[in-house]
């Protein structure tokens, strides 16, 4: 018995443990593998945010078309202070005056913020909204990540604010289907690069995607919280938390890092195609 016990003891002594070096190698390998795993994980999260934001933009686009089917006009953008409701001017012409929040809907259709407003999520009944009633993109819930919305302010066939006006003698029905549907009506311009001659609504033919978008929805992307972004290069064409020009011209293109031609760009832009909107409004009996 004693001898067998001592034999076992001897055998156990012969079984060596891990050396520090071996342990270090294993940890290193695990660390490398985990690193390899985590890198694509952050990329995946980024991708998921991108897809989710695109999905929300598509949802807004459908909601805008649905609003037009039900109301015969497009909604005005929400302003920074309208808590997710449509924001109109008080005056139909001249000074804008204090903002009016629909309902009741002032039928002149003059929006307080045609180009640099937000999705009127409360008016459209969209969710999820932040505590102020705005629809955020997938990157965050701060005011900088709110999804933005622009609508064409054009006069068509003598009807002022033809897309947003309502009531007798105003709005799309008064402007007329064929007048609204003319080619190159020059509603909102979407360019694939910064226009050389951006003068309140135009871009060079070489970079023009469309000049016929009645409404446009965009997210300023992940870099919204970076105070240096969005004020230079192509992003500056799209009004954003840090600046940008508020006019009828917008830029939509694939994303690029800082230092690329046109600068850092991560805005995600979509618009309501004119023929699709006309199709659905006619089907709903809102036009002609």
């Amino acid at each position: 018995m004693t001898s067998s016990f001592s034999n076992k003891l001897a055998a156990r002594r012969g079984c060596r443990g891990f050396t520090l070096a071996e342990l270090a190698i294993v940890l290193l390998v695990v660390a490398v593998l985990l690193g390899g795993l985590l890198m694509p994980l952050s990329a995946q999260i980024e991708q998921r945010n991108l897809e989710e934001t695109r999905r929300r933009l598509d949802e807004v686009r459908e909601a805008l078309i649905g609003f037009a089917e039900a109301n015969g006009r497009l909604p005005c953008p929400a302003s920074a202070t309208s808590d997710g409701r449509e924001a109109f001017c008080t005056g139909a012409s001249g000074a804008c005056g204090p903002e009016l929040y629909a309902p009741p809907d002032p039928n002149h259709g003059r929006c307080a913020a045609f180009y640099d407003g937000f999705v009127p999520a409360v008016t459209l009944g969209l969710a999820p909204v932040d505590s102020q009633g705005y629809l955020p993109d997938a990157w965050g819930t701060s005011a900088r990540n709110r999804i933005r919305y622009a609508v064409a302010p054009n006069t068509v066939a003598g009807v002022d604010y033809a897309w947003t006006g309502s009531g007798p003698g105003r709005g799309p029905r008064a402007a007329g289907l064929t007048n609204l549907g003319e080619v190159s009506k020059q509603y909102l311009w979407v360019c694939s690069g910064l226009p050389n001659t951006e003068t309140g609504g135009s871009c060079d033919p070489a970079v023009k995607l469309t000049d016929n978008a009645p409404a446009l929805v965009y997210s300023v992307g992940k870099n919204a919280t970076d105070p240096a972004s969005g004020t230079t290069g192509d992003e500056a064409a799209n009004p954003n938390p840090n600046g940008g020009t508020a006019d009828q011209t917008f830029v939509s293109r694939t994303s690029s890092p800082a230092g690329a031609a046109g600068g850092q760009f991560d805005d995600i832009v979509t618009w309501v195609p004119l023929p699709v909107l006309l199709n659905r409004m006619v089907a709903a009996g809102q036009l002609p």
Partner: protein
Amino acid sequence: MVLLVLFVAVGAYLLVSRLGAAQLRSARGSTAALAMARDALIGRALADDNRPGSLPCPDTDDDGAVNGVAGNCTSSYLGRLPWKTMGLADLRDAAGERLWYVLSPALRDNEAAWPINGDTHATLTVDGADEIAAVVFAPGAALAGQNGRPGNAVADYLEGANADGDDAYRTGAPGEAFNDRLLVVRRSELMHAVASRIAGEALKCLHDFAAANSGRYPWAADVTASASGNYSDTDRTHFGRLPHGLDATSASLGITASWPAGCGLASPWWADNGWGQFVFYSLAPEFAPDAAPSPVCAGSCLAVANAAGGTDVRVVVIVAGEPLSGQHRVTAADRSGVANYLEGENATPADGRFERRAPGTAFNDVVVFE
């Protein structure tokens, strides 16, 4: 052992995440792009200013703009979808390719294609089904032999019957030799959308006419006379085609009546495309031109079934769709028969009762009223 497990776990994770995301994107991407293209094509067709129902020529050089001369598709009827001209985004299928598109030559936006209306024959077929107005293709990834990408040759993008240059196209299960995805725009759905516009134009004309004439509407044009092309209104006629001339109405009203400004009926395209044959009109006797000003319903107003607010109706406009089985519109005698245009309750107008139904193989009237 630990390492092995880790390797397998990491490998499996990467594989699954890639596969799942890729598959999801491919299914969603192509479907959404095709649906958007179809909506836009129908919208483009119905909003056209002089040939409602006409379609744009395709883009044959991949710049996003239509190719052709004044709507005559001189290069080809098959090419890429002209996304830029149509105001669309740069639509791509799941493989990142732009969409392709073919239109029926009879629906091109050119004078030579006049008239374009519900009787216009669309010549494309898909899997043998005829009267196809247009087809939108998602070409998918390049298959064996399709080495010319990027390029503009059809065979580098579409396969088999879709690339052989004739008007017969086909769908199929994706595989080694075929991976086109098709979305079909049928003449029936295209013309139903256009008929909605025509109906809207007609009702707008009538609405504006009544507003200018103390609530009274014009007499209808006799069905038999209008079948031979005489669209003058006919005295004491409460049902017929929508009139172009308003002499009888003027006589009843005691003034020279005319269609108001901005009325589509008065535009040349209405007659040029022969829409007059398709637009029927019924008038409640209380609101006829010989009634006293500011009339109200007094027992003989019209009714429209299956429609909100379809009682005490003053006027009904019915736009006929494409000819259904058994409907013939060749001779003047054919065109004098209301049943060759309208279906169901709408084919018996004398009772003042009309109906709305979902469009299908037994009913395709568009009914609007006020």
